[in-house]
């Protein structure tokens, strides 16, 4: 037995107008300073006014949101007592909104206690709308929230099925002017979600099509967005849709090893999430396909029209295609090219990197689970950008 969960999806041009139809009294917008500066918060506020809702704004969400930020926002949220919470921004803002929502409904809970096994009893006080302004995390379509314990330099995957937003508004006007570097980072996040969603142990018939479609869209449209930028709104819209499709896909199956390694690298060296997981994606394809359990990477390659006469060839084709895409969109293909740190710093952090990766529950979600020694080797190979041969 398993479930497929989805928010109500509002997508396409002028999707934000759906806000005009909301019924309620007060909305609390969780966002970051950039969204205020770009005028996006004002746009949302105008729509809320159309609906007759008052609003308040918490705009202090930082990239890789900390536990402290979430607690601070939850305090303001509780004081305002809204019946709608709106997460506006990239995955950080939406994840922070999810976590604040949990605390609003469960004031005695700590963030580390959030888990998928116990009911959270959400929606007694408010419902959640997610409005992504980047095309990457898919957080608008998932029930997870990635937070950072800055004291322990650890990412915390806080999530429960109830944390899925009620409504996701996927309006292509919002990411239109996203900087190209951020576009590339988030685009690789989409690809990693989709590949891992298709190949994770929880994969299922309901998510396979979503993941394959998202992969196809990324390979076709991410290079176009990077090449043409704002001039290519069709490509922007396709990537925005791809992010949400991949979110629905992996959100209803699971992410896996590239995410556990990427979370660890990101927490310690502050590499942007999409860049980190995208960097590890080809390594983990190469590693997992060498395991004893049959994998499904070759099916993706066949879907893309890549050489896949055998499962091994298909997996290698996919890993190679991911590497070529990374290069095409200006992404690093090794840790050493991704870090502002020396090899000495990397080696000094290696024990912690391995420890954090092993403590990430997603490490068990692939067809091959690395031993501790293999996790060390994965990091070392990824540092050099070497193809995995073990």
């Amino acid at each position: 037995m398993w479930y497929f969960r989805s928010p109500q999806m509002v997508f396409g041009e002028a999707a934000l107008e759906h806000l005009d139809t909301l019924a309620g009294k007060r909305a609390f917008i969780v966002t970051d300073r950039t969204m205020v500066d770009l005028g996006f918060v004002n746009i949302i506020a105008d729509h809320l006014q159309q609906a007759g809702l008052r609003h308040a704004v918490f705009s202090r969400v930082e990239p890789e949101p900390s536990l402290q930020t979430v607690y601070a926002g939850a305090t303001e949220l509780a004081a305002y007592a809204p019946d709608w919470i709106i997460g506006l921004g990239g995955g950080s803002a939406i994840d922070a909104a999810k976590a604040m929502w949990v605390l609003y409904e469960n004031p005695d809970l700590s963030l580390e206690e959030i888990n998928p096994f116990e009911p959270l009893n959400l929606r007694r006080k408010a419902r959640l709308i997610a409005i992504p302004t980047t095309s990457g995390t898919g957080s608008e379509a998932t029930w997870g929230a990635v937070l950072t314990d800055t004291g322990e330099q650890r990412k915390i995957a806080a999530g429960g099925p109830e944390m899925l937003p009620d409504i996701a508004i996927v309006d292509p006007s919002l990411p239109a002017k996203m900087p190209l570097r951020l576009t590339a980072d988030t685009g690789m996040d989409v690809l990693t979600h989709a590949v891992e969603g298709y190949t994770a142990t929880f994969h299922n018939d309901f998510t396979d099509g979503l993941c394959l479609k998202a992969i196809d869209l990324v390979f076709e449209y991410l290079p176009r967005v990077i090449k043409n930028g704002t001039a290519d709104m069709e490509a922007r819209e396709k990537m925005h849709n791809a992010a949400t499709l991949a979110g629905l896909g992996f959100g209803n199956s699971m992410a896996a090893l590239a995410h556990s390694l990427g979370h660890s690298l990101g927490a310690i060296f502050h590499v942007p999430h999409g860049r980190a997981v995208g960097l590890f994606l080809p390594c983990t394809i190469e590693f997992i396909r060498r395991g004893e359990t049959p994998t499904r990477f070759y099916q993706i390659s066949r879907f893309l029209g890549l050489p896949a006469a055998t499962p091994a060839e298909g997996a290698e084709s996919l890993a190679q295609a991911v590497k070529e895409l990374s290069v095409a969109v200006g992404q690093p293909t090794s840790i050493k090219n991704a870090l502002n740190a020396s090899q000495t710093d990397f080696e000094a952090a290696l024990d912690t990197l391995v420890d954090r990766a092993e403590a990430d529950s997603l490490i068990t979600m692939g067809a091959r689970i690395p031993t501790t020694a293999e996790t060390y080797r994965l990091f070392r190979y990824a540092y050099e950008g070497k193809a995995i041969d073990f």
Binding site: M1, S110, E112, N115, T201, A359, S361, T364, I369
Partner: protein
Amino acid sequence: MSDTIAFGTEAWIKQLQVELNNSEAYAEAARNWEGDIYFIIKAAGSALSEDVYMYLDLWHGECRQAGIANPADFSPEFTIAGKVKSFKDVIDKKTDPMKAMITGKLKLKGNMAKMMRNVKAANQLVLCCTCIPTNFPLE
């Protein structure tokens, strides 16, 4: 059936102790784990006459104690409770243990933050269960 061990018996949980203590993979994955567990097997819908409490004391990759207990014998840090069929599906690898817990087939109680940081150890524990030739007291 003669070569199998009945699930929910002293022999079964003792065999799990042996499997855990012989597993290098478990020792490695659980090297930081400190905490004891009750597996509570619900009698409802099975051939059991009453709920069975199987106790495991797990400490840094070692299983220090294992046995059938009375509910009040210990106050373990974690409990995992479910029907025989739910445990069987996990041990037969028909259901992923995480899925079983998310869907409520197995109910986990305890320090969730700690459990979520030790999923790899939990995974190895389940693999050790699968190594035991088991017969299940289904109805």
